[in-house]
């Protein structure tokens, strides 16, 4: 909950101290706290609950509309004008909004770092002690209690789908000679790995509280080249997701804090939800892309011809650039019904090059 309060503090730093603003902060804190408590009661870890609450928070721009304008704000202009209510949108406040949103971007990034920091150890003494142990135990491959590094490198049986739900692990999907999984992470965040009904399942088990910052937690999943997977579903709280040279039908990525990179791959549909982090697709063939990016840039670069695709791109703050033509706020183009690129970006640029 402290992380959530700090997040709100940072959000509200750019707002003036008025009764309305104070009331908004209190009410939002109440709602977030209720949601957080229920997620914990449902069995989510602190980390998962915080990630969910923050990713469902929304945009500052909606608040500055409500708090920064005079008069009555109408969701439904027709009804209210018919009922003799007056109210007007103050268009001159757009500049103010933009400035506050840009400032808020920095604040959100800081908040994200706060989230990461809170999840890592404040026990720096223990980390220092471990460094000397790690040097001494360099040759050990498996779980080593003094250095707390867990490694696992194994060939696995064939799978057709991937399901990952992790809290602080970077996930890489790549192509190679065989089906393999390699994990290297802090002992305390080691995930559970199993293959059931041809689905590779990787799940984080424990709550994340005291992880030495200097541990890089990674997981590499290797699939034999030219093998098509059914669906890849990755849900990550804090960690990057990178998919290279992979053939798949569907990809669903939900990342709270981390970058998403899809490179040299061939997929039918791609559904990405990124709260804080960039989304980059390079040299990837696809039919359908749907991305929701809260804070971060979206970049799609491909040699495929996208001229017959439907485009629906909106940004709150940030430019849209399609083959170097610039657009503001919205770019739509009707094209083929089953080839679509849809991006909803709150704070960040969207660039498409083909």
């Amino acid at each position: 909950m402290n992380v959530i309060n700090e997040y709100l503090d940072n959000m509200f730093k750019t707002f003036p101290d008025t009764p309305e603003v104070r009331r908004a902060r209190i009410e939002l804190a109440q709602m977030m706290e209720d949601k957080y408590t229920e997620l914990i009661d449902e069995g989510k870890t602190e980390n998962e609950a915080v990630g969910i609450v923050i990713s469902e928070f929304g945009n500052l721009s909606e608040l500055s509309d409500i708090l920064g304008l005079d008069g009555i704000i109408d969701e439904d202009k027709n009804y209210n004008s018919n009922n003799a209510k007056s109210g007007s949108r103050n268009h001159n406040n757009i500049l103010l909004r933009t400035i506050s949103i840009v400032a808020a971007t920095l604040v959100i990034i800081i908040a994200a770092l706060v989230v990461v920091n809170t999840l890592t150890s404040s026990k720096s003494g223990e980390a220092v002690e471990n460094k000397s142990n790690i040097a001494a135990d360099e040759n050990k491959k498996n779980s080593d209690t003094s250095s707390n590094i867990y490694t696992d490198n194994e060939e696995v049986e064939r799978f057709t789908n991937i399901e990952v739900k992790v809290n602080v692990i970077d996930v890489y999907i790549q192509s190679g000679d065989k089906y393999e999984v390699k994990i290297e992470c802090d002992e305390r965040v080691k995930p559970e790995l199993e293959i059931k009904d041809n689905i590779l399942i990787l799940k984080s088990l424990q709550d994340v509280n005291n992880i030495p910052y200097n541990t890089k937690n990674v997981c590499y999943i290797t699939v034999p080249a030219d093998t098509e997977l059914g669906s890849i579903n990755i849900n990550s709280d804090v960690g990057d997701v990178q998919i290279d040279n992979t053939l798949a039908q569907n990809i669903i990525l939900t990342v709270s804090v981390g970058d998403v990179i899809v490179n040299g791959s061939d997929i039918k549909t791609c559904d990405i939800e990124a709260s804080v982090g960039d989304v980059t697709l390079t040299d990837t063939k696809f039919d359908n892309i749907q991305a929701q990016v809260d804070t971060g840039d979206t970049q799609i670069t491909t040699t495929e011809n996208l001229s017959d695709y439907s485009f629906d791109i909106t940004t709150d703050v940030g430019d849209i650039s399609i083959n170097n033509d610039e657009y503001e706020e919205k770019y739509t183009k009707t094209g083929s019904a089953d080839k679509q690129i849809k991006v909803i970006s709150s704070v960040g640029c969207v660039k498409v090059n083909y």
């Binding site: 908004a24 109440q30 500052l60 608040l63």
Partner: protein
Amino acid sequence: MNISSDVIRGYNDTIILYLLLDNPSYGYEISKKIKELSDDKYIIKETTLYSAFTRLEKNGYVTSFSSSDNSTGKRRTYYQITDMGRQYYDYKCEEWNLTREVVSRFIRG
């Protein structure tokens, strides 16, 4: 497929008023009911919800009061619908029925 926030924008107030028709409620309870009643297809953002509450109150469609939760003693802001709010809700229902009827004519399948 999830609901598009652009499309639902005109109906956030309506959705909230619906949930207040029978009894007052508070922030998270409303957001939870929206999620449940929409089968997880619409998860309303906190900022959207708070903006809607503020707007509804400014327009006189709801009033708010502070009350303590019976079991936890936690103080929350509760919202309740007004007569004007009920009128606005009825208007929006009519508008939706008209919209749905007209748009349906252009939808295949």
